[in-house]
Symmetry: C2
Subunit: 329 residues, 2 copies
Amino acid sequence: MSSKIRVGIVGYGNLGRGVHKAIGQNEDMELVAIFTRRDAARMSADTNVNARFESISNIERFRGEIDVMILCGGSATDLPEQTPLVAASFNTVDSFDTHAKIPEFYRAVDEAARKGGNVSVISTGWDPGLFSMNRLLAESILPQGKEYTFWGKGVSQGHSDAIRRVPGVKAGVQYTIPVERAIASVRSGENPELTTREKHERLCYVVAEQGADTAAIEREIKEMPNYFSDYETTVEFITEEKLQAEHSGMPHGGFVLRSGVTGEGTQQLIEFGLKLGSNPEFTASVLVAYARAAARLSQEGASGAKTVFDIPLGHLSPHSAEALRERLL
Amino acid sequence: MSSKIRVGIVGYGNLGRGVHKAIGQNEDMELVAIFTRRDAARMSADTNVNARFESISNIERFRGEIDVMILCGGSATDLPEQTPLVAASFNTVDSFDTHAKIPEFYRAVDEAARKGGNVSVISTGWDPGLFSMNRLLAESILPQGKEYTFWGKGVSQGHSDAIRRVPGVKAGVQYTIPVERAIASVRSGENPELTTREKHERLCYVVAEQGADTAAIEREIKEMPNYFSDYETTVEFITEEKLQAEHSGMPHGGFVLRSGVTGEGTQQLIEFGLKLGSNPEFTASVLVAYARAAARLSQEGASGAKTVFDIPLGHLSPHSAEALRERLL
């Protein structure tokens, strides 16, 4: 490893752009290249982005020149294929978030990374990631207790896509909103049993096609199984201009709470929360901190797949253990 | 190590009693003995406590019979002496919290633990401990940002002691209270510069001696340098009965917030908070989770002093890495 950690980015969508910006905030890191399936020459020519683009097919040529690859593809199709492939040749970090498939993904990546002698940090970001860490931490400290995760207020891509598939809908955005009353009940130590409807509500801003039947659109959204029918759903029709002006950001966030008891029924509450102006930029910042950890673990001789549960927090920081003890403990 | 983690407790004040109760909540642990400087035979005879008491002078006889010693003494005089001594023969965990002396304490414990081939987790609990972890995590993810720690609402022993030293005061309790307005300002992303007075206020419940000059007491408290003069302080005189009935618990808590920016000025907020019905019982629960980590690290062949920054979170849990990935990631 050179004096700076040499980083590659694979994929240049919202997350990849966030990683690019985040690397700029960390003085111990330098971006070597961005790997893309698109036309690398044309992307390099774009003067708005000051970076070297390379075709993903050239990635193997960078062996020995890049300490860690940050994989910014999607969980549905990109990462299940990409992570094992890249982990055979490089240390990697990704944000694989298809929960049910994590064990299977872990095994595939672990095998590839071990063979290659590389470290592969999988499924980091904020959920999975920081939220997972807080679930683990809180349950280990308060074994007698109950855990609650709330998401939002934030844009859900899946639900926004579902709205846009409704006939007569030109554009739309869906916000997941945690129910304040439910959070207050958890914080008060009431240990409520909460139904799906009691935990989150859904707010949809919809731009209708000209002449569309808005009553029918509203009904179809509210009755959509899995996505909306189990929730208190509000549908608000707005203009395309307003949607652009007020709802093109990607805010998100949420809370992990654990309410437990110690001794003879003493109430204890642990709470972790995020309020994110941009979901992809924040996820990117988490990926970059774990890229540092991956490079360091590899330097220490580790290999295989790792999760946020396996990595000491000190490895996320550019500062020495001694400095951290003195300043932050 | 036997199938259960065999634990010893050193010191049986509020914290030691909390650890005793917390061990009872963790099925993978068993209490072997409580070591005390007091009369062990008399303490064993106390039928209210179902445990074996031993004189601290017999501790060496338990080599090989105890996997980890949880040290429950105070930071002022007990731990600086006890931890290096016990760490020479056993894995240990403690809650040393004299911040300025942590580097020196670390070196002494590290040397003793290495010589003995043991693991010694120092300075855990919630601050130092969970709050430290969140400071480190948040600053590693959001390097461009500002960190705020608020304590309370909770009883400060040091400040309560200071009240009780004022002439004419029979008894008293001091609550440290975070200023809501300040927290709201941080949460809103305003990145305020906060003075001492703007962050916390102090609320004192005082029982005056019969015939004491309460105006003089109030003035003396409010003008006390270091403890109260830099704060908005409220002094309320109450009866001894009311003090007993309403203020004999040891609640505490607080918040660690980091407000930062990513990309082109996007606001991001990370918040961790605790609301504790009992400070010593919660600290005890953290110590017990880290006792598990100490035993496991030792089993893996590690030795020396460790802090919360050095220990993977998975080591705090009784569950396997595979089960944690499947259920909590």
